[in-house]
């Protein structure tokens, strides 16, 4: 089965080509949607086969490389189109194809009747192919194809409703910000390649070869430079400070896109990349600290913004940014497996949340449309009490919300708790650990708050939708609710494959299967880490129980506040905003980061470009040229005179000129 790994990206590629080239002629939505969904579902089946085979293989043999064809060979630089199958990439392909299949299925219902139905499915397949290349690539360059490819698809899908200016703007913003990150990725790649090559004579960008050569890399120094560059790439793709502002805008795309690309898969690419190169990142304590700090800061920063948004998708977008921050916090504290674990559980519950919100928007849109109302179908202030009309959507949404809030027994609890515990107890950051944990805990509290605020505003309370539209509210069709139910189920139980040791021991020593699975991938990184880790750490069973309890209490506090403000005493939010108007305005306007970037980068760039053009090009350079030209004006006058358009004139002049030049040199 390992040998068939090439099928995994190929099937969506075929789906893309078929729908892209012939979709317009096919017209039939069922056929187009079927092709798209089956393509990715086929990849899912192959992925399952690979997973099963890998489970049957002993852990030390769980690495398989497959070269498809040589791509760029130049001198000692070699990059093949080649795939790497190992426990980490298997986790990723399972998530991408699994969640991807569900979202494709969902899209058949959600995109029903849209003008560019075929275009949507073509792009979605293309995205899956790129994402699969990204996670399967056995070298940095194949990863980079995927890396930029997903950026392209994100661009295409955010700009799906291209007639809207906001969509076009958001698409461009996403691509350009990603490009800033890609610039970092490239420079990181160059640095690593160049340093290993010129100092150790190992010219490679292949992950496995890099892993073997990684003991030759120094701690810090050039590794810090390279990894920081790569991390810039990660901040672009995974929407971390400072390159996060594109993700909330990306909600201009259709909701399945938000679920697949901007929650479950693409935005986690940065986390995956760090995991893939954990053995290099860990060699730079400084980079690890930067990652942890940026992750924690993003987690809390985005969470604050999420508390004040009224657009249901924007809340989820900021929530995604915040959760990605948690993943980076895990990576930065050396808890690679925990980061990937949260990546997976987050894919389940966040995809479910986005799809659920899509289901709500779908129903709202329908209802408002039939009531001839122009109210915003995404504004939570127009919703309320939807749980009665949409029971399946409500229950799956609630389950996922409980999961993300970190209530014990649900997937999010296991992964988030692991991250917080590692932030507290990791041996790398010394005194900083307390702060990292504190920030993480507060962010978790905010998470519980804004998520339950969302649930309460949307599904509870009085129905604020126009009475005329109310009767048109209805539950979404099965094609939409089935993916919701599957994802809701996974959001509930998906965490049990990664039980914390502490809880596992209670039940007769159930190991953390997830961590065991990824052990071969991260073993080397841990080994490197131990060479500079501070001995002792905070490992203490009582403490771990205490913190676990603490994080539950934190979540409950967040929920309670949300309950008080949005169910019990609904005047509180208004009072709050009128008491702290400046604070609310700042949070509501996303701390004015977009305005700041416009002021710092966008506008100066445009002004500078204009200055260079009109000031330098036209005035200075052309001024000189035209000055010279004016001096020889007689010349140009003569030229104008000769430009009569008669071919014999030209032929004569050409011949005469050639003869004159030749003659001069021959006879002089």
């Amino acid at each position: 089965m390992f040998d068939n790994v090439w099928l995994i990206p190929l099937l969506p590629l075929i789906g893309f080509l078929v729908n892209g080239l012939f979709g317009k002629k096919i017209k039939n939505e069922a056929v187009i949607g079927g092709i798209g969904t089956l393509a990715i579902f086929g990849s899912f089946l192959v992925s399952c086969g690979i997973l099963i085979q890998m489970i049957g293989t002993s852990p030390e043999h769980r690495v398989f490389e497959k070269v498809i064809f040589p791509w760029i060979h130049s001198g000692n630089f070699k990059a093949d189109m080649a795939f790497l199958v190992d426990p980490l990439s298997v986790v990723m392909i399972m998530v991408v194809t699994g969640v991807g299949s569900l979202i494709h299925l969902y899209s058949i219902g959600y995109m029903h009747g849209e003008e560019g139905f075929y275009r949507f499915f073509a792009y979605l397949n293309l995205f899956c192919m790129s994402m699969l290349l990204l996670v399967l690539g056995n070298n940095l360059l194949v990863m980079f194809i995927g890396w930029e490819g997903v950026g392209l698809c994100s661009y295409l899908l955010i700009g799906y409703y291209f007639h809207k200016k906001s969509a076009g703007d958001a698409a461009k913003k996403a691509f350009v910000m990603n490009r800033v990150g890609d610039f970092g990725f490239l420079v990181g790649l160059f640095t690593l390649y160049w340093w290993l090559g010129s100092n150790q004579n190992i010219w490679t960008i292949n992950f496995m070869e890099l892993k073997q050569a990684s003991h030759l890399l120094p701690y810090g120094g050039v590794v810090t430079v390279a990894t920081l560059c790569f991390f810039v790439g990660a901040t672009g793709k995974s929407a971390q400070i400072p390159l996060f502002t594109w993700l909330p805008d990306a909600m201009e795309g259709p909701t399945p896109v938000s679920a697949l690309i901007h929650a479950a898969t693409m935005v986690t690419a940065g986390v995956y990349m760090i995991g893939r190169m954990s053995f290099i990142f860990i060699k730079s304590p400084d980079t690890m600290m930067v990652i942890a700090v940026v992750g924690a800061a993003t987690a809390i920063f985005a969470a604050t913004i999420g508390t004040a948004q009224n657009d249901i998708k924007r809340v989820l977008a900021y929530s995604t940014v915040s959760q990605l921050g948690f993943m980076f916090l895990a990576m930065g504290t050396g808890a690679f497996a925990a980061g990937i674990f949260h990546l997976m559980t987050h894919a389940f519950f966040k995809a479910c949340l986005f799809l659920g919100s899509g289901s709500v928007i779908h129903a709202m849109h329908y209802a408002l449309h039939h009531a001839h109302s122009h109210d915003d179908a995404q504004d939570m202030r127009n919703m309320g009490g939807l749980r009665k009309a949409m029971p399946i959507t409500f229950i799956t949404f609630l389950v996922s919300t409980i999961a993300i809030a970190g209530i014990p027994g649900f997937s999010g609890f296991f992964s988030k708790d692991e991250i917080l515990w590692q932030a507290f107890s990791n041996p790398y950051h010394g005194g900083l650990n307390m702060i990292l944990w504190g920030i993480g805990a507060v962010a978790a509290c905010f998470t519980a708050f804004y998520m339950f605020r969302l649930v309460f505003m949307t599904f509870y309370g009085d129905c604020r939708i126009q009475p005329k539209a109310k009767s048109h509210l209805h539950e979404s069709p099965l094609v939409i609710t089935i993916p919701l139910m599957v994802l809701g189920f996974l959001a509930a139980v998906g965490g049990y494959i990664g039980l914390p040791k502490l809880i596992g021991e209670l039940f007769g020593g159930i190991p953390n299967y997830f961590e065991l699975w990824l052990d071969p991938v991260f073993e080397l990184a841990q080994e490197y880490g131990h060479t500079y880790a501070q001995v002792g750490g905070h490992h203490n069973v009582a403490l771990e129980w205490g913190l676990m309890g603490g994080s539950v209490v934190i979540a409950l506090v967040g929920i309670t506040i949300a309950f008080t403000m949005y169910i019990k005493n609904t005047e509180l939010p208004g009072k709050f905003t009128s008491t702290f108007p400046a604070l609310h305005r700042a949070v509501y306007n996303k701390w004015y980061i977009d305005e700041l970037y416009d002021f710092l980068f966008v506008n100066p760039c445009k002004a500078f470009g204009n200055f260079l053009w009109k000031g330098f090009d036209v005035l200075v350079v052309d001024g000189i040229v035209n000055g010279v030209a004016a001096v020889v004006k007689g010349w140009s006058g003569a030229f104008r005179y000769t430009a009569t358009g008669y071919v014999h004139n030209y032929a004569f002049v050409m011949a005469a000129g050639t003869m004159a030049i030749l003659g001069y040199y021959i006879f002089r």
Binding site: H73, A171, K172, F190, W613, D617, M654
Partner: protein, 524 residues
């Protein structure tokens, strides 16, 4: 002797003769010109098939031509891995360019076609010449038809643009001619064979002056900052076919001139001026990108983007290692394809709307879906998205640059990948996205069959070269290796020789030994 190169070079000339005696029937003239260029392209395919991946010049023809006293000029042509793909690019672009004029040019079709075919002779001749004098003749030969193409069939401001183009290029050419004569006298009696000139050891002082003369001529053609201002005017005023050829092939004359003549002839001067050239190239990339961003005319925007792309080529060439030069060479071809395609695209909408102002458009995607798809592919190829041709060249250039002494320059140049996305996507958004509000745009027709046929080969090449560039790189590698070895040996020889030490002392302090990447000899 194999005469295939002469055949390919002069097929268009035969076409010119044929056109001269033909009646003024536009359809016939167009058809004939197209057929001639197609025959030329098909003939050139045989070059790829028979080309051996070795460093030597192949398909060589060396015939005595003009012998006047001590002067001896030979008809000496041949190609190696460096010129092969440029010859192919030329023959590949010509039929496309000619086909694009079908409805765009209605007046003086005969003369137009003659100019195009003459231009092709000049370009091909310049790429295959191994005799410096022969090269110069072809170099000048290109200038004249291009001057007419811009000056007669151009837009409103065509005379200004044509004269500007002519004067700029002429200034460089004259200096180059003087330099050619100087080398000739230095080398002693004999012919103008460049391989002969490669082996004469010029002292660093004369190398400096000669390099400057050559470099100026080539830098104007490239064009490098700050000698680029003829380009936006020439491009904007030129008819579509003229712009396409100008961008796809003529600009490559400059970069080709560097890699074939200026660099191997003057290795010490090359080393000495590398920081300067790299600086100008990097300024060109950033500067042209910023200026491109604020352009209101689509064609001008594309013209400025050319300056930025050619800056990458220059960085690659002067990195002087396998990856850099291979990347530079690839980037030349890529730029020919992508920018050629962009000019064609601009031509399509210009023919329909007779405007190129970005603000006159918006929302065209809805009205012209095929056009939108093609435009988008080309846009992303120009941005250098992996999977398209633009990426492979750009990546190798930057990789090569990073390994060489040009690391700092390369990092700044890498920021070009951000800027190119900014200006291209912003333009694309304003032209293609948004509401279709302008009533004139609401009746636009999508591409017709002819236009799709024009674009199809370019689109295919965008993907072929992006996904499977190996055959291209493999064929050029041996020649690149030879070039690097040749230059390094000479540079080393001069460093060791005490006589030339003062020349090296002139190198600015802080300038890193070039190139510090891995020696080419180690490759493979």
């Amino acid at each position: 002797m194999d005469f295939s190169l002469s055949l390919i070079t002069f097929i268009p000339l035969a076409g010119v003769l044929l056109l001269l005696v033909m009646p003024r029937n536009n359809a016939m003239l167009r058809g004939t010109a197209l057929c001639v260029s197609l025959v030329g392209f098909i003939a050139s395919i045989s070059l790829i098939c028979e080309f051996k991946p070795i460093a030597d010049y192949q398909f060589v023809e060396n015939l005595p031509w003009i012998a006047a006293g001590s002067f001896q000029m030979n008809y000496h042509v041949g190609i190696d891995g460096i010129s092969l793909w440029l010859v192919i690019l030329t023959t590949f672009i010509m039929p496309i360019a000619i086909l694009s004029t079908w409805t765009a040019v209605e007046e003086r079709v005969k003369e137009y076609m003659i100019c195009l075919l003459l231009l092709e002779v000049g370009m091909l001749g310049a790429f295959v010449s191994l005799d410096l004098f022969l090269f110069y003749i072809f170099w000048e030969l290109m200038l004249i038809p291009m001057y007419f193409i811009i000056g007669i069939w151009g837009g409103k401001n065509r005379v200004y643009a044509a004269v500007k183009f002519f004067i700029y290029t002429m200034v460089g050419s004259l200096l180059m001619l003087i330099a050619i004569m100087y080398i000739y006298f230095k080398a002693g009696a004999g012919d103008f064979d460049i391989t002969r000139f490669y082996s004469i050891g010029l002292d660093p002082a004369s190398q400096t002056w000669l390099f400057l003369a050559f470099a100026l001529a080539f830098a104007i053609k490239v064009p490098m900052f700050p000698l680029h201002t003829w380009l936006p005017d020439a491009h904007t005023e030129a008819p579509t076919a003229g712009s396409v050829i100008l961008a796809a092939v003529l600009l490559k004359m400059g970069t080709y001139g560097f890699v074939r003549f200026a660099m191997p002839l003057f290795p010490d001067a090359t080393a000495r001026f590398t920081p300067l050239i790299a600086t100008l190239a990097v300024i060109g990339i950033v500067y042209a990108s910023l200026v491109a961003m604020v352009q209101e005319d689509v064609k001008k925007l594309v013209a400025y983007s050319s300056v930025a792309h050619l800056g990458f080529v220059m960085i690659g060439l002067f990195a002087l290692n396998q990856q850099g030069i291979a990347g530079g060479m690839l980037q030349m071809i890529n730029h020919g394809i992508s920018t050629g395609a962009l000019f064609l695209i601009v031509g399509f909408i210009y023919e329909r709307r007779h405007t190129r102002l970005i603000t006159d458009f918006g929302g065209l995607s809805k009205q012209m879906p095929i056009f939108a798809t093609i435009f988008m592919i080309v846009t992303f190829s120009s941005i250098g998205l992996p999977g398209t041709n633009g990426f492979v060249g750009e990546f190798l250039v930057l990789l090569g640059g990073f390994e060489s002494g040009l690391r700092t320059w390369t990092i700044i140049a890498s920021s070009g990948v951000i800027l190119s996305a900014v200006y291209m996507l912003w333009m694309f958004q304003r032209v293609m996205f948004g509401e279709l509000t302008n009533p004139k745009n609401q009746v636009l027709k999508d591409l017709n069959a002819r236009e799709i046929v024009i674009m199809a080969p370019l689109i295919v090449m965008i993907f072929v070269m992006g996904i499977y560039p190996t055959p291209f790189i493999d064929k050029m590698n041996p020649s690149i290796d030879r070039l690097i070895v040749q230059m390094k040996q000479k540079q080393v020889a001069h460093v060791v020789a005490p006589v030339t030490a003062p020349g090296r002392a002139g190198i600015p302090a802080g300038y890193p030994e070039l190139p510090s990447g891995h020696p080419a000899g180690e490759a493979k």
